[in-house]
Amino acid sequence: MSDAGGAAKPKKVRGTVFVEVERCKGCGFCVEFCPPRALDLDTGFNKKGYHPPVLTREEDCTGCDLCGLYCPDFAIFGVIIKKSA
């Protein structure tokens, strides 16, 4: 989320996720079964008191949407970022 500040050369980001924070129930399926383990559960809480996932290692995300297939609460999904320009 906010740790992308470093001025290092940009890596080719292939995928990203969208998280509907308030719908998450913190089960951790997405974090555990993400193939490159790009997600972590946030230390913060949503309104219901669960820890939603954050894409800590965006550079590792392939946009495979396995997190979306696993999420029992339809709170996350992954997309492939098409290279534009």
């Binding site: 509907e20 719908r23 555990e32 609460d73 997309v79 534009s84």
Partner: protein, 295 residues
């Protein structure tokens, strides 16, 4: 680009009913993701698709899906589905319910729907217990596991559901767990394209009742158990698929065969006896796309 991205499951859900009632780490929602993708991939006509459930946590699926759906009385999903299919043979009818609903109170409907080869897809989410009513023994509860109604450990012989479905005549029988999301999606897609009684068992966590009462941790622990202890055996003999407490779980596609459906058999018999006077029941709807290439 990504601003407009929407979750691929959203078009299949009644968003006004979200969040679901399901507990954190319950597997039912995961199976719904697979089902939604299977609906897209099979290219069946959603306007001619109906989802029928009985009562239970899994029974909620019909109410959450934005296709025509029918939340019936406990145990009677297959009975209602029988009427729905015979009254409107063009419908793709999917029954989606728990093992308590389908196999305990609904067991009689189950064996006869399979015997008749009724043209419906039956998805059974098996969490080894009655979730909605507080964790009682169900027909698949493994021996020695503890339940509200068996605090000293369950001692009955559990049903092996693929064996039951196979012996009653189902034309497609598979079992996956909610860990096997890709395989489950494919099984649902394949089954949606077939005719006749198709049965998919989905082993799924119930962290609130089954896991907790048996000190098996949460939903994620159940998923890791499935990951570690599942063995893929396509074509396995269904009599060997028994599940014991925390035992190995055999997963795969076990049966894939053809047999006349209820409507086929009725048409054949009456044509034979009544000749041209007989007006046949319309042929069961086979999606035109399904005849072509597989996705």
């Amino acid at each position: 680009m990504t601003e407009v991205a929407i979750n691929p499951v959203n078009p299949y859900l009644r968003m006004d009913r979200m969040p679901s009632i399901w507990c954190p780490g319950c597997g039912i929602g995961t199976s719904v993701n697979c089902f939604a993708r299977a609906l897209t991939q099979s290219k069946i006509d959603l306007k001619k698709t109906a989802v029928v459930s009985g009562i239970g946590c899994t029974g909620r699926v019909s109410g959450y899906m934005s296709v025509d759906s029918f939340h019936t009385t406990h145990g009677r999903a297959l009975a209602f589905a029988t009427g729905l299919k015979l009254g409107n043979p063009e419908l793709n009818v999917v029954v989606y319910s728990g093992e308590g609903d389908l196999i305990a109170i609904g067991g009689n409907h189950f064996i006869h729907a399979a015997r008749r080869n009724l043209d419906v897809l039956c998805v059974c989410v098996n969490n080894f217990t009655y979730g909605m009513t507080g964790g009682q023994v169900s027909p698949t509860s493994p021996a020695t596991a503890k339940f509200t109604t068996a605090p000293l450990g369950q001692f009955e012989e559990p049903f092996n559901l693929p064996y039951l479905a196979d012996s009653c005549g189902a034309v497609y029988v598979a079992r996956w767990t909610t860990f096997h999301v890709r395989e489950l999606t494919k099984a649902m897609r394949d089954a949606l394209k077939k005719r006749g009684f198709r049965f998919i068992e989905v082993i799924s966590p119930c962290p609130t009742l089954y896991q907790r009462r048996n000190r098996l941790g949460d939903g994620l622990d159940a998923m890791k158990y499935y990951q570690e202890k599942s063995v893929k055996k396509n074509g396995a003999n269904t009599s060997e698929l028994r599940i014991d407490f925390q035992s190995e779980i055999t997963v795969g596609t076990f049966v894939d065969r053809e047999r006349p459906t209820f409507a086929d058999a009725m048409n054949a018999r009456y044509k034979e006896v009544l000749g041209p006077r007989y007006v046949p029941c319309p042929d069961n709807y086979v999606p035109p796309q399904a005849k072509g290439e597989g996705t």
